[in-house]
Symmetry: C2
Subunit: 112 residues, 2 copies
């Protein structure tokens, strides 16, 4: 099965963050793809963030495609990350991602 | 947890294909990341392919980052794909991916 972008949405204050992010959904929960409930390309606009939030029932990975950011891990440690880095949390953990630059930060987000 | 590239390997005749591919592993089965047994950036060199192969026990997604190729789906149909496309197979299905161009084809491969 080939999926282009299913829908594209711009979300202000994503997960309680600041600014806005753009989400290009490829796979969502409604697709019933075994093992994956989200596959999306996400553009975090300049000076915008995905707020720190908890994953109760699933795990998530952010893979940085382009740009740089600050990842907040499950211990709320702030870690500088750049293109090529993969940021993982397990089920029951929290995370967030911040773009403090004037360039967009492009990532792939997968929930599984 | 942040993962850069764990190891980088060049594989000739990947899965019975032609030419060579370069695999930058971020997560492998040994990492015991719940739900993910592979997360890798894969570079399919010019005029190279990942041969058609079966996934008995897991599903896989190829996400095209850069370049274009031909995806062989579970019915052995050949489908032109390009950057931004996500190619999914389910557990028990087969697939392959071919680069017939003089440019590299960059993808993310996840097994789950």
């Amino acid at each position: 099965m080939i999926r282009g972008t299913k829908d594209k949405v711009v979300i202000p204050n994503c997960r309680g963050g600041v600014g806005s992010v753009e989400i290009h959904n490829k796979v969502t929960k409604e697709d019933l793809v075994d093992g994956l409930s989200l596959f999306a390309k996400v553009v975090i606009h300049p000076y915008s963030t995905i707020g720190y939030h908890l994953h109760t029932d699933d795990a998530e990975a952010y893979y940085l495609l382009e740009g740089q950011g600050v990842f907040l891990n499950h211990n709320e440690e702030r870690i500088d990350v750049k293109a090529g880095d993969l940021c993982l949390i397990k089920k029951g953990q929290s995370h967030g991602l911040e773009n403090h630059n004037d360039q967009e930060l492009h990532i792939i987000a997968i929930v599984y």
